[in-house]
Amino acid sequence: MKKNILEIKNLTKYFGQNKVLHEVNLSIERGKIHGLVGANGSGKSTIMNILFGNSVISETGGYEGEILLDGEPIRIRSTRDAMKYGFGMIHQEFILIPDMTVAENIKLTRENTKKGASRILGHELSYIDKAQDQEDASSVLNELGFSIDCSYLVKNLSTNAKQFVEIARELDKKNLKFLLLDEPTAVLNDEDSRRLMDVLKKLASKGTSILFCSHRLHEICELCDTVTVIRDGNIISEYQKENMSIPALATDMIGYDIHEAVQKPRMIKEESILSFRDFSVQMPGEQLHGIHLDVKKGEILGLTSLSGHGKLAPGYGVLGIYPSSGSILFEGENLDLSDTGKTIEKGIFLLPDDRKNMGLLLDHSIRENIVFSGFYGKHRFSKKLFGPFSVRDKKSMSRYVEEQIRELGIKCENMNQKTRELSGGNQQKVCIARAAAVRPKVLFISEPTRGVDIGAKEKILDALIRMSREQGTTIIVASSELEELKRISDRIAVLCEGKVSRILPPDASEEEFAYAYTGEEERYDQ
């Protein structure tokens, strides 16, 4: 038996012309937890996808380099290959079938079958031995220190329970040698994260090797025996447990020291600009069930919830993208939500979370994108030609765009470059410049830092703070990144199951937030 269970040699991957992995070398010891940290777009998910044979890889031309498992060179072409070699993966988004029971999910494709029937009908067509499946499933879950009735349907489980079911499914695989985890704690609260980490430690001590991918550096430091930092597809550094530290990891991850954007505490007038009254939105997966909320003029209001609990819905509802009921008061007047154009003209604007599909014209230039909403929605950047005819004022457009590129630090060749070619962070900056050009009174922005690396993240948060300070824009930020919300918001509204569970000041304790997230605040108050 070799000491290293997995060795990766000169792993290289291209997406089109882009080289996303540059001759990566990585070796992972048997029964150890190896951490992999990197900013978004650094290539860590690509490594995971290669190891688990994700079809994204084979569809884009496969990979170059060698992967040795137990010293044997292997070639992973599909997920089926990866499973055969003993890889298991736990995804950030659950890959579970909601209408099946816990046991069925765990045992799917590895069901126990009734012996007699399978002798006649063959294994594939045989009857499933449900009792045996349930027994197997609950024994695996017990091993994880998690007891739940295996006959429950998965769709009725809480988020963290689903995560455990997913882990149990991987552990139930008899040939599991190597477990890949992609940001597994992103959806868990602190308590459950800790429980997960205990389980992982126990697993490792039994001989399963683990590759753990996370951007929560404190978890990495606590959990991992070794950690590799990857940046722009290059391995930057490797640390052993003894000399790991959060600042060192963070610096390696982004390559320079970052300045954190922070909103200093300030006085906000009591006057409210936007009021939600019993406001419901039918947004699939993010239902909102009758919220009451007053947004104060000039504030930055953080809006957070676990995913699926409705934090994204208010913005989409107000802009009329999804059907809604209840009423909205804007500056004291009832707002008609059916006409999005009117709403925008009155001064409400939204930057969506799904940038690529809703937030950008990918085949248009940076300039066109930035001026679009201001020009068409608010008639800015135009000059009168004669009568009702107005033409675009190219000079003022270019001046504004240049100014924004400089101020937000948009990395691009020039303003005529297509936004498709920009990185996630720079695309988001383009979106923010576009919103700023509309000069809204109220700006909804959803997941402003999703898919954005740390450096760009701070620029974006800083831009929001500046917008609020300098233009007096009221900003409603819907985000799952509580840490960021705490830094930039004046107040944070926590939603749970589509209702406002609590409104907290940014300096409230983690515990208070945790209770608010899970809707258990009544218990906390008592």
Binding site: E59, I321, T340, T343, E345, G359, L362, E368
Partner: protein, 341 residues
Amino acid sequence: MTNRSKLPQIIIASFMLLLFVMAGFLKMDIPELIGDSFTKFVMNGVLVLAMIPMINAGAGMNFGLPVGIVAGLLGMCMAIQFRMTGIFGFLGAVLLSVPPAVILGFFYAKILNMVKGKEDIAAIFIGYSFIPIMNFVWTVIPFTNREMLYPVGGEGLRPKISLEHYFGQVLDKLCTVKIGGISIPLGLIGFYALIALLIYGFFKTKYGTVMLAVGENERFCQLSGIKINRVRTTAIILSTVIGAVGICVYAQSYGFVELYNAPLSHSFPAVSAILIGGCIGRRAGIFHAVLGTYLYQTIYLLSAPIANAILIPQMSEIVRMIITNGIILYAFLKQERRKRS
């Protein structure tokens, strides 16, 4: 230009050159062929331009071109009924076909807005189901000019109405210039250029750029407060009007107004032509339409006499079918591939 014309255009262009060379070997009248190629090009050109607004607004290929064509036919029939002749007869026919085009285009747009994402297939069937309705209309419509009606019985429009006494070939013969044996129909080309310029200009205006943006990303435009369906409706009406003008140009050149099932035969060649010009998916420019129409029509023009000369008379029709339908299929495949990457 090099980055806009890709491999398929190069292949087709070289095929066209090969045909010219073969025609030369077969001792055909090259200058006359070139002159004819201009006429053929413009004759079909405006119909191809009718693709552009719809593609750019993201409403798919204008497979429902017969809708616009029918409007044009109505316009021409009215002009004949009023016995309008000469160039003013032609312009009158064009003007008279605009109101029916706007009305029909509006309903065409209503339907297409209901079947977002499946416009192409819906438009094909709108064309196919609209023609039988019109077949009925043509037989009962109360026109009285004897030259339009069936000679026997005197009721119902005849399938082929001669324009000889009205505005047949008025554009073709307007300002023809002869340069070295090649006669160039300046009037015809001028009219085409005018329409093309108007379309080009339209897409430079504020409303035109909104249309382009709607074609690229509807959700984005919705979030910028643009009324998507209204923009799409405008684009579809515009396409229908251009289609109506297109059939007027075609008919004056051909010399006959063709009613009944004839409109159906125009949509696939027009779609094909713009695709040959290098338009895939959601952006179409004047350049695509011009290049595509010229390549498509010239190949058609050349292949017929050449095939006849080397004694396989059916060959030209076969080649044309392969090109027309093959290129549409090719474009769909290419679109799908782009979606995935």
